[in-house]
Amino acid sequence: MHNKTLSELSAGLAGGDFSSEELTGGFLARIGKFDGQLNSFITVTAESALAQARAADARRAQGQAGALTGIPLAQKDIFCTDGVRTSCGSKMLDNFIAPYDATVIEHCNGAGLVMLGKTNMDEFAMGSSNETSFYGAVKNPWDLKAVPGGSSGGSAAAVAARLTPAATGTDTGGSIRQPAALCGITGIKPTYGSVSRYGMIAFASSLDQGGPLARNAEDCALLLNVMAGFDPRDSTSVERATPDYSAALGNPVKGLRIGLPKEYFGAGLDPAVAQAVEEAIAEYRRLGAEVVEISLPNTALAVPTYYVIAPAECSSNLSRMDGVRFGHRCAEPQNLEDLYKRSRGEGFGEEVKRRIMVGTYALSAGYYDAYYLKAQQLRHLIADDFKAAFEKVDVIMGPTSPSVAFDIGARSDDPVAMYLADVYTIAVNLAGLPGMSLPVGFADGRPVGLQIIGNYFDEARMLGAAHQYQLATDWHQRIPHGFE
């Protein structure tokens, strides 16, 4: 049962092969059995999951089930869940029981999806390895010595290990795509404004975007259909009819114009990763796509631009964590300043503190123009690169990450090296474009991801291109050893 995709599970539930309660119980049992090795969940909500499952079964009995009713799902612990701890991977919110549901959670509940629990993540989504979590590092199911990527590392590891058929994630600079790549699964970050950010704890508001992680593109489309939609509670939500993301899955690849940015295949790219990506491109050629080389000349500016804008926004977004109304408060504060200093000093981890410091500096009087304003200007240049490219091609492809999953601890002492590894994913967030990753092979036994970048609101075409590839290959069906 646990190896089935969302669409297979949907058919099984509809055909009465199994109930949601059985399905949910099965996944909860797998979490109990395997998650000790992986640490992919922060909170498992077994009791409420079974209650939701029974409600879903009842709903089905009344003939009111939707496509995903009764299917279990894991939620990244960044989405506020009414009555359930929402920690964001931080000691700061270890005691925070959200009093409301995020819009994404509402949508999932409305569709009858069953929440198995809340997945582990880098603290406040700041990290690319899931090592910054207050709840400890998550292990990569393909190799327990390796990181799963981040920040949605718990979601990616849980999906890869078949502890859940799918999970939600968020992506600020690659936090869905990079862990999907490193764990050998499929994930998509839609166009900025497609998925409501209401109730999704903010890291960098102008970059954050929720999206699904699943085993294949078809499942991502199904889940994105539930997650996306205009939300009047999020002013940056785009007011347009929610598209059917599954609509173009059947479209053939023939004639698809694929652009390969030369900057994505240069120095710093692991040759083994390059080879797997090139083989995937070759497959697209066989399927009839036209492949052309393009240039995104400002690619090298993406990382420095991002590491001004994201910390600047986070330095302000995290100010509300002050020990006054919720979250961690230091013991016996002596005065207001002591309350702030110790609550925040104790509640935040090193990486979060580093980014708050960087962002505060970038916004300070006398530095604002040189850093924040300059970064905003560069952001336009980066977006313009893509705009020019999409006049020539339908989608852009390249590696998701320059290397496969690295060993836990290997980059902990070198934050800049960690930041630079996000070079291919970050520009997509700066431009607000949709991007996805799908598995296309292995290097040293660890998965390689192919990134597909699309034009604004062109997710259906991207998902279609990925689906067609997955019909022709079986990388997405590989199961990590020990989790069969």
């Binding site: 600047a312 302000s316 100010s319 509300r320």
Partner: protein
């Protein structure tokens, strides 16, 4: 040395919306602490602001009323600082691009004439909550009911040269926002608050002196007192060889003085940057036109009209246009009476105002409605009662004893206009006071008033005064 005072005001007008600027929570004053603070106001993780469009309409109205450009595109920015009653650790405000640009108002000067005061800008922002330092046993309580209440911050040019001008400007804006119905103007509840930037310079010098910002001056009287105190302090300081430092000073109304709150060096670096949770505020020309169509007649225009069309003095027209409610009341009375604006104005400015003052009531809570007052004035005009008796009628109406006719009927206050009846009483009075009659006829003109008083007493004030005067004069001289 002769000194010149330079004053600029920052006025915070609380916009009269029913819900907050970025959340759906209510803005009503006086609710139990934290009962009007929703998840957004509490700054819980994950919540997002959504702009209340009504605040944009109100800001647009204000912009039009001061002759300013309403910005086609303005930006909400975050002002970052930590304080327990600031839930998010930043205030959403506008910084580089405010919604309302440069405008002006004209103030009337005490010495006559008027003066134009420039308004630099006005911008939308959210209010913070309240810190309560009493009753918490060494701790501080936080009430976030006020957090997220919409404010329009109106920044003036440093155009005022005395505390009196500052007060006149503040009163002018106070009237204006109430005319526009964008602020209830309630200063006790903090709906209309003022900070003043005050500096002095030697007369004739062009460069401004170093300014102090005065906070917590929330009544017209305090503004005047605080500025006067501060000007004296600065002059004394400079004349004794000291220097004014740029700082924020708090006005203590009990002591009538200002004291230092924080120096410029201690000032926060607010790290303003555009709020990524809110899109730029775009205002279309069609929206501005639609709002313009709803603008009421503004105080200056109304005042002018009352002078030109009603023949009122500048002083009377000024008082009647101080508030839109008073002006509307007055106009309703004139309409119901069918003319006689001067008489109507006298009653509104005189009796009605003093009763309102006495009972601490606003005109919209007056027991004597415009209809009641007009009914009474008609009885003056048709000689049913005299102006003097009318005061008694007014008092009875105020006490809820019915309309003028009911009061006149019940109390028998109908004027005596029957000449023979008045003559009869005059004759009795003259007969009873032969000495005074002789004295009057001997040249003591002042005794005329004595005889009037006697007749009025005998008729309980009901004799028609004009008739009485004529008849009495004839009898005495005859």
């Amino acid at each position: 040395m002769e000194w010149e005072t330079v004053i600029g005001l920052e006025i915070h007008a609380q916009l009269a919306t029913t819900s907050k600027i970025f959340s759906g929570a209510a803005t009503a004053y006086g609710a139990a602490p934290n009962t009007q603070a929703c998840a957004v106001d509490l700054g819980l993780p994950g919540v997002l602001p959504v702009l209340n469009k009504e605040t944009v309409r109100m800001a647009t109205k204000f912009g039009l009323a001061i002759g300013a450009t309403v910005a086609p595109r303005s930006i909400f920015a975050r002002k970052n600082y930590f304080y327990p009653d600031l839930p998010k650790g930043y205030q959403i405000s506008q910084y580089e691009l405010p919604v309302v640009g440069q405008g002006y108002v004209d103030i009337e000067l005490e010495e006559g004439g008027s003066k134009r005061i420039g308004i630099t800008r006005a911008h939308l922002e959210e209010d913070a909550g309240k810190s309560l330092h009493e009753d918490f046993n060494g701790m501080t309580g936080i009430d976030l009911n006020r957090a997220g209440t919409p404010l329009l911050e109106i920044v003036s040019e440093p155009d005022m040269r005395s505390a009196k001008e500052a007060v006149a400007y503040m009163k002018k804006l106070h009237a204006l926002v109430r005319y526009l119905e964008i602020c209830d103007g309630n200063m006790q509840e903090g709906s209309f608050r003022c900070d003043a930037n005050v500096s002095v310079r030697p007369k004739g010098q062009e460069a401004f002196g170093t300014r102090a910002e005065l906070k917590n001056i929330n009544s017209f009287r305090f503004v005047e007192k605080a500025i006067d105190y501060e000007v004296e302090r600065q002059i004394a300081l400079i004349e004794s060889g000291g220097k004014v430092v740029q700082e924020t000073r708090l006005f203590d109304p009990d002591k009538g003085e200002t004291r230092s709150m924080r120096a410029k060096e201690e000032a926060n670096d607010y790290r303003y940057f555009p709020d990524p949770d809110l899109l730029p505020l775009v205002i279309e020309p069609a929206f501005i036109e639609a709002v313009a169509a709803t603008l009421p007649e503004l105080p200056d225009a109304k005042r002018q009209r009352f002078m030109e069309e009603h023949g009122l003095s500048a002083y009377d027209a000024g008082i009647l246009t101080d508030s839109r409610d008073i002006a509307d009341y007055y106009e309703a009375v004139v309409t119901a009476v069918g003319g006689e604006p001067k008489l109507c104005a006298n009653w509104v400015i005189g009796e009605l105002s003093s009763y309102l003052n006495r009972d601490g009531r606003e005109i919209d809570a007056s027991p004597v409605s415009s209809v009641l007052l007009a009914g009474m004035i008609k009885r003056i005009l048709d000689n049913t009662i005299s102006g003097k008796i009318a005061k008694e009628v007014f008092d009875a109406m105020w006490a809820g004893e019915g309309d003028a006719d009911a009061v006149i009927g019940k109390k028998g206050l109908k004027q005596i206009t029957d000449t023979s009846a008045i003559e009869k009483i005059i004759d009795e009075v003259l007969a009873a006071n032969p000495d005074n009659v002789a004295a009057y006829r001997g040249g003591k003109d002042k005794l005329f008033g004595f005889f009037v008083g006697q007749v009025m007493r005998a008729t309980q004030g009901k004799a028609n005064p004009q008739q009485l005067n004529e008849l009495l004069k004839r009898k005495l001289e005859g």
